[in-house]
């Protein structure tokens, strides 16, 4: 199979997956969920009131029309209006995207750079004391609840030491910076454990390959072996992991945003959950899923570009 056929097939596979996502969203929110009119009007609503609201929300239409609506929204990003704020959801998403990205993008980059550096160091000293400490450290860090990191970080660095802003956000550069510093720091610390562990595993998987023995037999030094031979092979899983985590950046960090009152998409989603705002939850689910689907296709295509073995298969 050549690259074009592969790419085309991969692109076409988006369609059934997208229809599937819409089906799951439809199933969850329109089939098995409790009647939203009950949630919105409370227990004492009359039957007539409920009927009216159902018509207003379009819930009285046949199920396949409602399903098609969801599918349509996945392409047009027109998700209708929020039940609680009555705003256009697409406008809300546009507004929320900026604060989210100002937090998640820098955090993502810094976190990657630090984690990959640490894991290269750890892989270089594999089996030695430093490596053992690092592995145990990673597992320990992963075992502590992310809530505890956020709470403690906010209290200690923000409140006790007073180094950072604890809450709020300002639009525009560079006004937003003080508000995102502490969340970014906490994000980086949160990511350190799982990421170093993952990259270390990836690097070590390569270090024990036969071609590394060949490289040593040629007389290459350990540094060249690690940074040239091993790293280029390890790039494949590393890039995969990196690209596939990009879609989650849209959500920002649900918890961080809500703790630090940053008006991003994550906080918006949590508010929607608290207010039983179905359209917003649905919109965010579809949006992140679409992003995930697109990025997983990109990952697969990148994969064929980086790895010469896949190219001609």
């Amino acid at each position: 199979m050549n690259l074009y056929v592969y790419t085309l097939r991969r692109l076409l596979y988006i369609i059934p997956v997208l229809l599937g996502v819409c089906a799951i969203v439809f199933f969850l929110f329109s089939v098995v969920s409790p009647d939203p009119t009950l949630i919105m009007l409370g227990k004492h609503a009359s039957v007539q009131q409920m009927e009216e609201l159902r018509r207003e929300l379009g819930l009285d239409r046949p199920w396949f029309i409602q399903y098609l609506d969801i599918v349509k929204s996945a392409f047009t990003f027109d998700f209708g209006r929020s039940w609680s704020t009555k705003q256009e959801i697409s406008t809300m998403i546009k507004q929320g995207a900026i604060p989210s990205l100002t937090l998640s993008l820098p955090a993502f980059v810094i976190s990657f750079v630090i984690s990959i550096t640490v894991s290269l160091m750890v892989a270089f000293y594999r089996g030695k004391f430093l490596d053992k400490i690092a592995v145990f450290g990673c597992v320990s860090m992963m075992s502590i609840s992310s809530l505890a990191y956020i709470l403690f970080g906010q209290w200690f660095f923000g409140y006790k030491l007073g180094w950072f802003e604890i809450s709020g956000y300002d639009y525009g550069f560079p006004d937003f910076i003080p508000y995102v510093l502490l969340p970014i720091l906490i994000w980086v610390i949160l990511g350190l454990g799982p990421e170093v562990r993952f990259y270390r595993t990836v690097l070590l998987d390569e270090i024990y390959q036969d071609y590394v023995r060949t490289a040593r037999a040629k007389g290459l030094g350990e540094h060249v072996i690690l940074f040239k031979h091993v790293l280029k092979n390890a790039l494949i899983p590393i890039i995969t992991n990196l690209i596939i985590s990009i879609p989650f950046l849209i959500l920002g960090a649900l918890l961080l945003e809500s703790f630090f009152s940053i008006p991003g998409l994550g906080a918006m989603t949590l508010n929607a959950v608290n207010a039983s705002d179905f359209p917003v939850i649905k919109a965010m689910t579809i949006l992140t899923s679409v992003a995930y689907i697109i990025f997983s296709v990109i990952t697969d295509i990148c994969y064929t570009l980086v790895d010469p073995r896949v190219r001609l298969r």
Binding site: V17, V25, F29, S33, V139, I144, L147, W155, T285, S289
Partner: protein, 288 residues
Amino acid sequence: MAAVEQQSKSLWQHAMGTLFRDKMAVVSIIIILFYVIMAALSATGIIVADWTEEVGPSYGSPSMDNWFGLDMFGRSVLAKTIKGTEVAMSVGLIASLLSLVIGVTLGAIAGYFGGRVDEFIVWFYTTFTSIPNIMLLVAITFISGKGLKAVILALGLTGWVGLCRLIRGEVMRHKDREYVHAASAIGAGNYRKLVRHILPNVTHIMIINFSLQFQIAIKSEVILSYLGLGVQGRPSWGIMIDDAKLELARGVWWQLAAATFAMAIVVLAFNILGDSLRDALDPKLKGK
């Protein structure tokens, strides 16, 4: 047949031997057993019969009488932590069993029968993984009406994908092995071949995944409880951490510390046990 059984038995014995020589693994098992016992004792009311009991002043600090201090209503934080253990253990156990059953069933069917069935199951889990886990968790708990059952259901229904993939791959590898052909030669049907011959060869994946899933469930329960979607009207580690949000500024750290440590220690134990199990059971990784 007898010879094969003996061989596999000795493989398991060998793995168990490796596991029990690993001191960290043994310590982890002891810790997990301790948590399980605490949870069982608390569930049967033998200890902490009434956690709502007021035993001292509001926000009483840790003392000889109340090791972990008291909360806003003067209730023992230790009692709440133990009650939280009960929630965490039951969520971990039932949710991971649920995802185990779903993952193994779908994975085995896909891997064994292949063709259309396989394509359908692959499509299903590709679709499923396309939806961010947190959104699914939120949606399922929301819909099944908040509370302990909802949390277990949500975690069980979302945690199966990784296992399903692994089992599918392994079953595919095994189904063309000689021993399976031999089984069909003596007239074994699909069900017998799959359940009696292939699945015992992938048990190690189930065990490793179970211990991984257990701690993921415990961690997720804390987040869901914090979001207000978790257990209602009884203490859980997530709710305790949520309470601590307002307490830290007053210098009340013990509720946060108790819940965090209680959780971290058991999750750490599961993590270490998971790694040791992998070393002991997965022959591919041996020698590394």
